[in-house]
């Protein structure tokens, strides 16, 4: 589903750069990206979503070579990704349902199909009752759920989550994480960058640890306990 082959990314400032990173995420896998700030977690997510291009190496997402995409194809790639950020990035003058509907409208989904799909997505994240609420009327956890509903509504095969629980309290964190696990259980790949090691320990998912732009640990390389 996602394949990095010898990817190097350098910035003039030197921070967040990647050095010769290679890994493969098969369909339906949940992967944690861990590491200190500036280790390159966000850079990996930006490369997947084509917000940035690698300096060298190749990034393939859902069969597309991200590096060689034309300007017209980048939106097509983004529609196969659901992206969630630490700061939610909702449009504040639109209600929860309008925020979710927005993702469908901009991709040209017929208007008559939109309300049903929006309701389904909001129900999935447990916010059907808050469809008419504006972001400032909701808690952080609820806002993040709206953002996740927006990410889900196009049925993407991949969800990218950049510190999705970074701004949330413990309870909201647990709820949002559980939601991402449920989504993954439905067959969607989830790539989640996080500082929260409790979450990493709680679930038995693959962990990619980055340090100064290099993958220093990949749990997929270790034999699992039951295989020993």
């Amino acid at each position: 589903m996602i394949r990095f082959a010898h990817v190097t990314k350098t910035y003039p400032s030197g921070t967040g750069a990647l050095r010769n990173v290679s890994f493969h995420v098969p369909k339906g896998q949940f992967v944690f990206l861990t590491g200190h700030s500036g280790a390159g977690k966000s850079t990996i997510l930006s490369l997947i979503s084509a917000h940035e291009a690698p300096t060298s190496g190749e990034v393939r997402v859902a069969g597309l070579n991200v590096h060689t995409l034309g300007a017209g194809e980048v939106p097509k790639l983004r529609r196969r990704l659901g992206i969630v950020f630490q700061d939610f990035r909702l449009l504040e003058y639109r209600t929860a349902e309008e925020n979710v509907a927005f993702a469908l409208e901009v991709t040209g989904v017929p208007a008559r199909l939109i309300p049903g799909r929006v309701t389904r997505a909001l129900t999935k994240v447990g916010l059907a009752g808050k469809a008419r609420a504006y972001p400032h009327e909701m808690s952080g956890g609820e806002q993040q759920r709206v953002a996740i509903a927006r990410a889900l509504v196009n049925d993407p095969p991949i969800i990218l989550a950049d510190e999705p629980t970074g701004n949330l309290d413990e309870r909201a964190t647990k709820g949002v994480f559980q939601l991402l696990r449920d989504i993954n259980a439905g067959g969607t790949s989830v790539i989640m960058a996080t500082h929260n090691l409790d979450l990493v320990r709680e679930a038995d998912y693959r962990v990619l640890e980055l340090k100064q732009g290099e993958v220093v640990y990949d749990s997929a390389d270790e034999p699992r306990e039951e295989e020993l």
Binding site: G72, R78, F102
Partner: protein, 289 residues
């Protein structure tokens, strides 16, 4: 298209202050430009009024047969520069002199014989109301054997020529400067609205909106603001024009307002500016994000 219209109108509703401000900025930028053009329009028409008085007068020798005069008149009327030829007989000239030259009324009153010659008054077509063209016509007229003298007020026509040339250059330069300032003002205003919505643009890109999709509501919004600003500036121009005319006394000077075409042009120019301003600032943003 429905969605694009909705998004564009939504932005008006959401940020009424900023939207009104940008419409006002466009209106005032166009208003100053419009006022300037109004002034220069009237200045030009005043100059044209003066130029209408450019006239070549050919005085005829006493005793010239009427047939020769009629023939020559037809001849002269066929000159490319000539608009009309009027024959003024000796008696007409005397009558006119009695009316126009009051100081000499007494002198003209008890004349035994009429000292004034008959003449041909030749008016020129608008593009030929210059010293050069009038001089050329005068030279040709002097070739007729029964024409004793040709006058066309060379000095003042030459001065009028100079003023007209200068006015054209000055108007063009200042007009261009006004238009540039208007373009810059409108560009900055629209850029402000786009900046204010940078976040929204980023989110649109995030969920996979194409550049065309992101751009269209902004373009429509910009064009709409330009249209409103253009109409508003026309109203402002009209208001100032009316106030000025009332203050001056309408019967004193014949002031002109823009013609229908010029008004359309102004509103169209506003719309175009709004559109271009949006296109440039959104374009810059789409590349940057």
């Amino acid at each position: 298209m429905r969605l694009v219209t909705r998004e564009a109108l939504l932005s008006f509703r959401r940020t009424p202050l900023l939207s009104s401000l940008s419409v006002a900025a466009i209106a005032f930028a166009l208003f100053t430009t419009g006022l300037y053009f109004l002034v220069s329009l009237n200045f030009r028409s005043a100059l044209e009024g003066l130029a209408e008085r450019v006239e070549v007068v050919a005085f005829l020798m006493r005793g010239t047969p009427a047939e020769s005069v009629a023939l020559a008149s037809q001849d002269i009327a066929a000159f490319p520069e000539v608009e009309s030829v009027d024959f003024v007989s000796e008696d007409q000239a005397l009558a006119r002199a009695r009316v126009e030259l009051e100081e000499f009324r007494e002198a003209y009153q008890d004349l035994a014989t009429n000292p004034l010659p008959a003449s041909l008054e030749i008016r020129l077509k608008p593009p030929y109301r210059t010293a050069e063209a009038a001089g050329a016509v005068a030279d040709r007229l002097a070739g007729y054997p029964f024409i004793s003298d040709v006058r066309y007020g060379r000095d003042w026509i030459q001065r009028l020529d100079r003023i007209r040339r200068l006015a054209t250059v000055v108007q063009l330069v200042i007009g261009l400067a006004f238009a540039l300032v208007a373009v810059a003002t409108i560009g900055v205003t629209i850029r402000l609205t786009v900046l204010q919505r940078a976040r929204e643009i980023a989110i649109m890109r995030l969920v996979g909106a194409t550049n065309g999709f992101i751009r269209s509501p902004f373009l429509l919004e910009g064009a709409l603001k330009g249209l409103l600003g253009g109409i508003l500036s026309l109203l402002l121009c009209w208001a100032s024009f009316s106030a000025f005319r009332t203050g001056l006394g309408a019967e004193l000077v014949d002031l002109q307002f823009f013609s229908g075409g010029e008004m359309l042009l102004m509103v169209g120019f506003g719309t175009l500016l709004g559109l271009m301003g949006s296109l440039l600032s959104v374009g810059r943003h789409l590349r940057a994000v």
